[in-house]
Each structure stands twice: as C-alpha cells, then as structure tokens.
Amino acid sequence: MTAAIVADGVRKRYGDIQAVDGVSLHIEAGEFYGILGPNGAGKTTTLEILEGVREPDEGRIELFGKSPWPRNHELLTRIGVQFQASSFFDKLTTRETIRLFASFHRLGARQADAMLARVGLTDFGSVPADKLSGGQAQRLSIACGLVHDPEIVFLDEPTAGLDPQARRNLWDLLRDVNQEGRTVVLTTHYLDEAEILCDRVSVMEHGKVLKTGAPAALIRELDDMVRVSVESGLVAPDVLRGLLESAGVDNTIVEDDEVSLTVATHTPGPVLSILADQGALRGLEVRGATLEDVFLQLTGREYRA
C-alpha cells in the first residue's frame, strides 16, 4: 500500500503553548483515519498542518510524497477540506454556494449540481445556505470540499453539535466517501464515531500522539473487564459470589444497586452460564470496553475545559 500522508516529528508552537509536539503519522491511501483527543489536544492544528494551511515549526509532511507547504497547486486539486458549517458566503443559496466552490476548481455547474444531489440537498438548492439545519449545512460543507473529486478528504469535527439522526446520516455519507477509495482523515472527540468509522485512530493529548492503532486492537489491548448485568433481585449478590467462587471464577466484582446486578469480569463465559443456571437472565446486558475506556485510560479522568 502507498502512503497518502506521512508526517514526521511535526512541531508547532503558539507563544507559550506547544500546540503540536512531535507528531508522526503514517496514513495509507484509502484509509479512514481518526485523530482523537480532548479539546485543546492539538488535533485541529495537526490537521491544518497536514492540509498545508499552517507551516510547522519543525518536521516533515508529505502528501503523496510532496510537501503541502508552501501552497502547492498540484496538491490542492487532490485534497478536499471540510470546514466549519459557517464558512459560507453571506446571502448565497445552497446551489450558488456549491457552484462558487466548484468555480474555484474551474469545474462545471452540472458537476456542482450533481454534488449537491450526492449529499441530498437538491431540494434545498434555492434555500439560503445560512438557513440550512445543522446537518444540512454540514453536508453542504462536505460537498464543497468534495466537489472537485479529491483523493484525500480532511474533516474537522464534522458531526459536532448534530442531533443523532443527522450524525448517522453523515456517517453513512462519510463511509461512502471512503469506500470510493478516498483517504479520509477526521478529528473528533466522539469516541463512538471513531470506533464505528475509523480503520485506525491516533489518540492525542498535549500535542503528542499517545497511541495509534485500530480501535478494536486498542480496546483489546486495554484488557478491561466485561460488565454483565441483569435485573436486580433475580439472584442475591452473596449467593452469586458463592457460586462464582465454587466454580473457580476469580477476580470478579459483584455489585447490586437495587436496579441492576452487575458482574465485572475478565471471563464472561462462566458468569453467563451460572446466571443461566439460576434462571437470572432477565434484562441481560453484556458491555465490553469501548474506545472511551481506552481514551480515559490514556488521557486520565480528571475534568478539563
């Protein structure tokens, strides 16, 4: 596989803040890549450096083997960037907006209109762009970044502030975009989003990449306990503890909060069969670790603004 994006030892400083502190990435062509991190971790700055909007203080970036800084016209036709949904001209309709961005690439009006259809906004063509709903505006924003058929697509928190339906709708679009063979790089702080969409993620904090890998691999590596819970009152916690002990299942934590009886364990199999023997499976729920657990383990649990 060919590398679409290579970053090596990238650093960027703003005054006293080291926004990006030695980031190295290797993103394959066709990969769906996520950059995860809490607010202020340096995700956006990293993305902007990859796009060629900002010049790194140190380090090397190559897109298809070429540096995006200074502004490289050939690369600009091969990358597409989705901006905040508010980055539209005042007073223009949806169709005028997409045609304007198409003109920047010297494309035709029909191609622009086809892109509008692609993101499902044809019916909103004559609606002013600033009157679109959050999800529609985000789709228009993505359409503006996709209109020239780029090979790499950069998205900065594309689903921030969207309602659940709009989020899922956008996920479908992004998945399609990736399945057409485009490399997609997105930043997000929604872990479920990264887990569902991304082939690989890099978890960032304080300008550094803490960990990189496929979401499932990172979760497995965490080796966190699986939580098995059933309705409370089906079996007494003490009875269950005794049964688990006699069956030789160690290292389990049994808790009952009057609503659910929860067993945290590394070996959910025997736990489930014991509960089944007791006829205590009503309301059964098995929850494994998520990317969120990986994230919290890596970045700590304390609150930050």
Binding site: A29, E31, F101, R106, M115
Partner: protein, 391 residues
Amino acid sequence: MSIEDTTAPTTRTGPSDRKEPAGKGGPGGRRTAGDERLSPIRELSRAMILSVVRDKGTIFFLLIFPILFLLLFGSLFKSDGTSHIKVAQVGEVQVLDSLTKDQREQLTKAATITKVSSESTALEKVRKGDYDALVEQEGGTVVLRYSAADGVKGASARAALNAMLEQANLAATGKPATYTLKASQVEDRSVKPIQYLTPGLMGWAIASSAVFSTALTLVTLRRKKILQRMRLSPIRAWEVVAARIAMSMVIALTQTALFLLVATLPYFGLTLTGAWWLVVPLVMCGTLSLMSLGLLIGSVTKTEESAGGLAQLLVLPMSFLSGSFFSLDSAPDWVQWVSYLMPLRYLVTGSEAVLSRGGGLMEALPTMGGMLAFTAVVTALTLRFFKWNDT
C-alpha cells in the same frame, strides 16, 4: 477504479484493496462532457455583488443614503446661488412707480418689489429677513435700507437701485446718454454649490463604501475561514483580488451614475462640461486608492466591529478635510495642506474639475497617477500585516 478525473495527476493512488470500490460508481461530481467550466473571477464577483444586492440595509447605506444627502444639501444651498432679492416699497417711490412695462419686467428678473403700507412693519420684516431691503422716498432722496446680515443681497439691491436712479437722472436732463453699457456674459467662473456638492458628496459616498466594505469583507472572510478555504483551492490570489475590485467598481460606478443623474436634474441644474466622462477613470482610480485603505484596516483588525469603527474614524475626518462637504477654496490654509495627503481630495477635486469646471485629460491624468501611486504604497504597507487566518 471508481474515480476518474481527467485533470488528476498520473501518480494518483488507487483505493486500498481491502475496501470494495462500491458499485455506486464515482462521486456525483464526476466531470460531465459539455459542462462548461465556471470562471472563478466571474462567480466570485457575482457572489460578492449578490451579497450586497440581497441586503436591503447595505443597499440603503451605499446608494440611497448618500443620494438623500445630495437632495438635502442640494436643496439647502440652492437659494444661495441666485441673487434674486425681495424689496419692500413703502409709500410712493417715483422711480419705481414710473417704470415702463418693459423696464418693470427687466427689474423683476433681479428683484421682487412688494408694496407695504407701514414703514415700521416693513423695517421689522427686513430685520427678520423676510425682505432683503426696504425702499422709500423722502423728497428728492430715495432711501434704501437693508440688513447687514446678508451683505451680498444688500449690495445687489443697492446696485440695482443706483442704476435705476442714474437712468432716471439722465432721462431728467433730456439728453441722450453719452456712454451706454452693453453687458455680455462670459463663462461663469464662480462655483455654484451643486458644482462642488456633487463631486464632494459623491466622493464621500464612494469613500464610505470602498473603505467600509473592503475592510468588512476582509475581516468576515477571514473570521469565517472562507479565506482559508479559498487558499485550499487552486484559485489564484490575484483572481480573488480582481473579483473583489470588480465588486467595488460596480458599486462605485453605480453611485457615480446616480449622483450625476440626480445632480443634472433641472431642479439642481448641474451642467456637465466637455470631458465629464473622465469621471469614470477617475472614480475607478479613486476607488482603488480607497480600497487600499480598507484593506489596511481589514488587515489590522480582527472583528467587524473594530474594522467598522476604524473605518468610520478614517472616512469622516477624511471627507471633511477633502472638501466633500464644503468647497476647499474657502477652507483655511492648514486644511488645504492636510487635504493633499488624502486620496479622497484628489477624487473630489479631480471629479469637480472634469464634471463642472471644464477640466480635461491634463487635470485628470496627474490625479489618477497620484491615486494609483497612493494605492501602491498603502498596499505594499498592508502586505506586512496581511493574515490568512486569525491565529
């Protein structure tokens, strides 16, 4: 491979083999044959002009508001230009009463004589300014009393009456006049208010729109990250600049057309002189020089509010010091000197020269050159402050 792009470089990489290229085919944006390419300059200037045309508030501020000023000032100062005087006649005044019909008609061109019975009422009315002068006869003396408030009108009343008395005196001798005066008009070199109000207010209107809208466009495009977005597309910087200039030119020339249209109405009576069309290149150069100031303001400010404030701080004093609201001819020396530093002064005086003072290329060319030089200097200075994004 599902994506084909005729302009894409040959080094394009294929989709990774672990992903199916999805039977949907390429993106909807695939280039279609016969789909005419959109010109970035045309689309961008269209977008910018639409953003003005579709905003009623902006239209009012740019086009209607300055014209209202012209209507207001034009009407206010209109009476100043005529030397028609109103005279109250108390009792019998032989010279006036014995005028022939022809003579009376001649007189009414310059003055309206109204008979008033009481001297004290007439005097009071002169004091108030209802009449410019009062005339009465005491024996062989014709007495003219006029208010000192308006010396010009008093003097014209005096001159008119004097001429009449001399004619009457001469007639009384029964001899023909030895010398007669044949008056013929030469070109009027005095400036009527509409002659300086039109270029002045027009310059102010153009300055406001060029400085404000250039500064605000820059700040808004930067704050909304549209500048950054354009920078990430293959559009060239000069194309963005050209589109923005085109927008300001359309506004400035529309303002010019509106001003000339209103000022040449018979009511205001501006007569355009020979090479008035030179106002078009003058306005274009002037717009460029004022845009460069807007660019500077937009580059050193971060929010629309501060850009608007700074633009106001610049445009209003500049307009006063450039003769937008009054003729510089009568301004104190220091104002005249300061005015030489203002690009607006050159737009105003240049336009005045070609519009109403018979000026031609010789007046217009140096002015245009000066404004272009100003543009170059300010733009060079601005490049030091120019930023693509806020942080």
